[in-house]
């Protein structure tokens, strides 16, 4: 397997960044990690994952879809898109990598979302296998192997070197582009690291969590469950879970009069918000219970129903860490399963 010494990562990043824009997860002063545009000297974080997910590069929180310029009776329609450069997102974890399978089912299905597709076409996702999963991790629940991540190309660390493996043609092209810095390496130590990580994955507190009681056929069983009342009781109705989630994909579109034209603007929406899916007749979900239920039914029942059994969660654990009142999909799954 081709590899590079961890000490030479700076050189590698420099080479990638000389050809295209590179984003890596880097440390923030508050001890969290976030994706940053690579600049010389920047170091890869030691944190397991970033607060905001890699989703942001392909489905940003805000974007302008189209501008209208009105002069007299003429309307000029302007496409504001300028993104046409290739970019690399390095160090994506296995959970976040799987989120693109889910997002692709939404945005690349007919009618294709050309804004998302444009970024998918230009972006290369280079993943990094996990070696120190956290107590909040449960990607295994959704059939994800944290030691063998998806993505265009995958990286594996044995503590001294980073090994590279292409998962598709785009990933192979990426590896070819950096091959001058890589050398063939022995994977004996890597195999050891991987089997150790697999042992830890088995021992995670949420290792036994299963999707067997969820899926598209559970609508009637769960929709009217009396558990929703107590589960949603302390929900603050904030958007933290939806905004740190790598798979939440709901958005809102609005036209703004800027005074000298119209901007059609898209931003993430949250099913937790009181005006979510508000229509001319009003709002279909009037209480927090209904809004709360929507989020979890979407991930555990509606999404698999419409997408060949694929669940709308990847077990990254961000909502487990970040919810202000520590209510999350794991607690919901366990409560609904109780008969």
């Amino acid at each position: 397997m081709l590899k590079i010494a961890i000490d030479s990562l700076g050189e590698l990043f420099g080479k990638i960044a000389s050809a295209q824009t590179l984003y890596i997860p880097a440390d923030r002063p508050d001890g969290e990690a976030e994706y940053r545009k690579y600049e010389p000297g920047m170091k890869l974080t030691g944190r397991l994952n970033t607060v905001r997910s890699a989703k942001d590069f392909f489905f940003p929180q805000t974007e302008s879809l189209v501008d209208f310029k009105v002069e007299g009776k003429n309307i000029e329609v302007i496409d504001p898109r300028k993104e046409c450069e290739d970019f690399v997102v390095f160090g994506v974890r296995a959970c976040d990598a799987r989120s693109f399978t889910i997002l692709d089912k939404v945005f690349l299905a007919d009618p294709v979302d050309s804004y998302y597709k444009n970024r998918r076409d230009h972006g290369t996702i280079v993943t990094m296998a996990c070696t120190r999963p956290a107590e909040t991790c449960f990607c295994g629940t959704f059939g994800i192997d944290a030691t063998a991540p998806e993505g265009d190309a995958a990286c594996f660390s044995d503590g001294e070197s980073i090994f590279f493996k292409a998962n598709n043609d785009k990933g192979q092209r990426f590896i070819d582009s950096i091959s001058s810095l890589l050398e063939e390496g022995d994977t004996a130590k890597l195999d050891e690291v991987q089997s150790k990580t697999r042992e830890i994955l088995k021992k995670l507190p949420l290792a036994a969590l299963s999707t067997e009681n969820f899926g598209g056929d559970k609508l009637n069983e769960y929709f009217n469950s009396d558990k929703w009342g107590e589960l949603s009781e302390s929900c603050l109705g904030c958007g933290t879970c939806t905004f740190v989630c790598p798979t939440c994909q709901c958005y809102d579109i609005k036209d703004f009069d800027t005074g000298h034209g119209i901007k059609r603007f898209r931003c993430w929406d949250s099913c937790m918000y009181s005006d979510f899916t508000k229509m001319a007749h009003g709002n279909p979900r009037l209480t927090q219970l209904e809004r709360f239920r929507q989020r979890f039914m979407h991930k555990l029942v509606y999404f698999p129903k419409n997408n060949d059994g694929e669940f709308g969660c990847v077990g990254c654990g961000r909502c487990l860490s970040k919810c202000p009142i520590s209510m999350n999909i794991v607690k919901v799954m366990k409560a609904l399963e109780e008969k």
Partner: protein, 323 residues
Amino acid sequence: MQEAMISKAKALLADGTVTRVIGWKRGEFVYDVTPAVFESAQELDEGFVYDDFTAANVSKYLIKESRKEGKILCFLKPCDTYSFNQLIKEHRIIRENVYIVGIPSDGKLDAEKIKSKGITGILSAQRDGDTVKVETLYGIETLPLADAMLEKCLSCKSKKHVIYDELIGEDGEVIDSDRFDMVEKLENMTAEERFEFWRSELSKCIRCNACRNVCPACSCEKCVFDNPQSGVENKAPADSFEENMFHIIRAFHVAGRCTDCGECSRVCPQNIPLHLLNRKFIKDINSLYGEYQAGEDTTSRSPLTNYDTEDCEPKIVHERGVE
């Protein structure tokens, strides 16, 4: 303490004083406790918890809970009693429907802060004097208590309960805290440095509204920022609105009513030190209108909603803060 609280709750449920109990429910890990309502002795035995991670302030939930049938028992930490009192003052909680048991708190731990020190795979956390011992999937880690404690507890302003029906344990005193130290540091910065500080902090905002929704002072039925008719509705960080407007407008809106409970900073997923904006207002109110602590009582008038001939003049804005 937890056992004493459970016994107290069971007794008050049994003798009919209350029909429900609001407290904290055990989660999947050592730290992920959730505010919850308990209705029976069995529910209390199964899930009620009071420990180093029960930091959430339950006072705001009582707006809703005190409007339900029957009386509810709440356990309030000293800081939570200030929020409760302020909500009584603002006619938001129906006092007769709440039975308050004051409980002591010697500060709560912050799992996110522990994780920010690079500690992962947390299985348990035990306080031991000035240190915290954290058992993880990767071995035992020990860190100084200050590195694991919530910011709001590190600069605790009071161990005194300002409202209660009864207490478990002894009541404490108002503390001469160092909570304005960082505000002073910011005041002593140049305008450019201060602008840089707040820009870099506020630009992290993802506009999740957790700070607003948890805030006991933010109890409007419909927030202007959620109202499509207001013209300022916003559900995304766009056009640097958050850096320039949202948090600052919110700080103005709660000025004179914010008790400095610290929940805004506790819940921020991006670790923005929002409490510093509120503390700046509190410090200014103290120096311009005389010492004032919101939530200390239920009857006094806030300096900002009262008029006094000794009040400072608007020109104070020009006299101070001009470089």
